[in-house]
């Protein structure tokens, strides 16, 4: 278990570092070399070339950047907005809470990926729209979790004490409620990263996400499927990268869940 977590952290750090430094790496993801078309790994490039003669490794690294920043953007946006909405609704109660619960009920009646597909399809392709579409789906889980957690702790004595001492609502939420409910939110956010990485690639696979010449692991898989017999590395390379990142995140999520002792957690 220890080695598995170590490996997972190693893979995730590599992912994050590559995503951050890739603008300064000498990458040529769009360089078309006609002689290299469908080259197998090791022939002209380390991981071969795709159907247009572009280096697979360079495109893979750009794909790492795409998935990392989309995941970072979507998770931070939906974590902050969802937590804020869920906390305030649960703490204040009244009509605000009822409106939120109604909204949550409606959003949860859509299978998440379906709503994301519809939103991405309507908003049009591109990384910005992708982040918007996935955040519009992602906030729901955090809001629901934050609301349930705050409901269960808002009547504790220290909150009453803070109220009696005249603390204002924002201060109570940030100082007295958030620390108590942080653990399950952290675990949910970790699993959320896996879901977003898969969703980003999935939408790009459907042609609704990242557009050429930008690259995403999902669109690399889609483009590679046509050449699967002659050049299986076009499907294998991005798939392995995607799979390793997602599995590392899931391992980390399991580990955090046990570590922080978060029990009844419902995955969306």
């Amino acid at each position: 278990m220890k080695t598995a977590i170590f490996l997972a952290l190693l893979i995730l750090s590599l992912w994050a570092i590559l995503a951050c430094v890739s603008p300064w790496l000498p990458l040529h993801p769009d360089q078309v070399v006609l002689q290299a078309i469908l080259d197998v790994p090791g022939q002209s490039y380390l991981l071969g070339a795709d159907d247009l003669g572009r280096p697979v490794l360079d495109r893979l690294l750009v794909g790492a950047k795409t998935s990392f920043w989309v995941a970072a953007g979507v998770i931070s946006l939906s974590l902050v907005s969802g937590t804020l909405l869920g906390c305030t609704a649960a703490y204040l109660g009244g009509w605000w809470d009822r409106v939120l619960v109604m909204l949550l009920d409606i959003f949860m009646a859509f299978p998440g990926i379906l709503l994301a597909i519809a939103l991405a399809g309507v908003l049009g392709p591109g990384i910005g729209n992708l982040v918007i579409a996935l955040s519009l789906v992602g906030w729901v889980g955090f809001a629901r979790l934050a609301r349930a957690q705050v409901l269960s702790v808002k009547c504790r004595e220290h909150v009453q004490a803070a109220t009696a001492l005249g603390s204002r609502t924002p201060r109570i939420i940030v100082r007295h409620l958030l620390p108590l409910i942080a653990a399950p939110l952290v675990v949910e956010a970790t699993f959320g990263v896996a879901a977003v990485v898969i969703a980003e690639s999935g939408l790009s696979f459907l042609g609704l996400g990242v557009q050429p010449p930008e690259s995403s692991w999902g669109s690399m898989i889609r483009d590679g499927v046509r050449y699967m017999l002659v050049a299986p590395h076009l499907v294998l390379a991005p798939g392995v990268a995607l799979f390793m990142v997602v599995m590392s995140v899931n391992l980390l999520g399991d580990y955090l869940r046990d570590l922080l002792d978060v029990r009844t957690l419902q995955k969306l």
């Binding site: 379906l114 709503l115 597909i117 696979f205 459907l206 898989i221 499907v235 799979f243 997602v246």
Partner: protein, 309 residues
């Protein structure tokens, strides 16, 4: 029971109303003129006006909204811009294929997950458990748009056992169903394991053991029967994910269901069909959740007789 049933039904009706409204407004907030988006910038003014009339876009938003809702209630979802055919009949043609795929995937998932989960729980901490949970982690982490092509590479192109794509008989169903079912099987087997382990700590299990019942009776009749409840809830939620995942899996295998229709229609900007697909899939999801809740109440008298929630 009637009160509980009624309140659940009312919630479901309300949620469907919300879903339909959300679908309506998503398409209304499309940046730009929908008619221009649908027909392209070069369309003649008369054509645009005709389409605008046909879609009722000249009316005030509230009126369009109520019209959309009442039409939806009569299952009149408008006409496809591409097929020149009623959306409802298009959906009807495609629905069976999706249902077939989802049912097969569900069956595969349950057939894999139940024995695996029970075995893992019974052999907790030993090699069988670790192997099962390792496979479960793999299953959760493998995206179906990658698993699908891998299966095709191995079993269609390599071994030639199954067709590469399309829907032609039982053989063509195998790979799509495995692709779609793997994720559910993985999550479900974990849930069966953890739920069963929790139940096995209960007093009545000790009693059953003390009575000298055979081990499998204790596990299956006393343990599994009580472990069903959390599993059912999860199943309801996960079936939605299954329906959503079907969209991608269908695209991988060119399976002629609602998912491929949805993706094609998005690419063709055939928005009435997009609306119809999203509505129908969500409707199924709401219905499934309602059913699981009712089933839950049926299985567990505590919910039926006590206060809901």
């Amino acid at each position: 029971m009637p009160a509980y049933l009624l309140s659940r039904l009312l919630t479901a009706v309300w949620v469907m109303f919300g879903v339909a409204s959300l679908v309506f407004f998503i398409l209304h907030w499309v940046p730009g003129d929908p008619v221009e988006v649908m027909l392209g910038e070069s369309a003649a003014v008369a054509d645009r006006e005709a389409l605008r009339q046909a879609l009722g876009l000249n009316l005030p938003v509230v009126e369009q909204w109520t019209r959309f809702l009442t039409n939806t209630l009569r299952w009149d979802l408008g006409e496809s811009l591409y097929y020149q055919q009623a959306v409802s009949s298009l959906l009807a043609q495609r629905f069976a294929a999706t249902l077939e795929l989802a049912a097969a995937a569900f069956l595969i998932a349950v057939l894999i997950a139940l024995p695996t989960g029970i075995l893992a729980a019974a052999r907790r901490g030993r090699a069988a458990d670790l192997t099962a949970m390792g496979f479960s982690l793999l299953g959760v982490s493998i995206p179906n748009f990658w698993l699908g092509p891998l299966l095709v590479l191995a079993f269609s192109l390599g071994l030639g056992w199954f067709p590469v794509s399309g829907r032609s008989g039982l053989l063509s169903l195998v790979l799509p169903a495995i692709t779609l079912g793997t994720g559910l099987a993985a999550i479900l087997s974990r849930m069966v394991r953890s739920s069963l382990l929790e139940v096995m700590n209960e007093d009545f299990i000790r009693t059953a053991r003390a009575k000298g019942l055979p081990s499998w009776t204790v596990w299956l009749r006393h343990g599994m029967r009580n472990a069903w409840l959390p599993i059912l809830t999860l199943l309801g939620i996960q079936l939605g994910a299954l329906l959503g995942g079907a969209v991608i899996t269908e695209t991988v295998f060119n399976w002629p269901g609602l998912g491929t229709l949805l993706v094609e229609s998005i690419q063709r900007r055939d928005y009435p069909v997009v609306q119809g697909c999203v509505l129908l899939i969500s409707l199924c999801y709401v219905a499934i959740n309602l059913l699981t809740d009712l089933l839950y109440a049926r299985i567990d008298p505590r919910i039926r007789l006590g206060q809901p929630e």
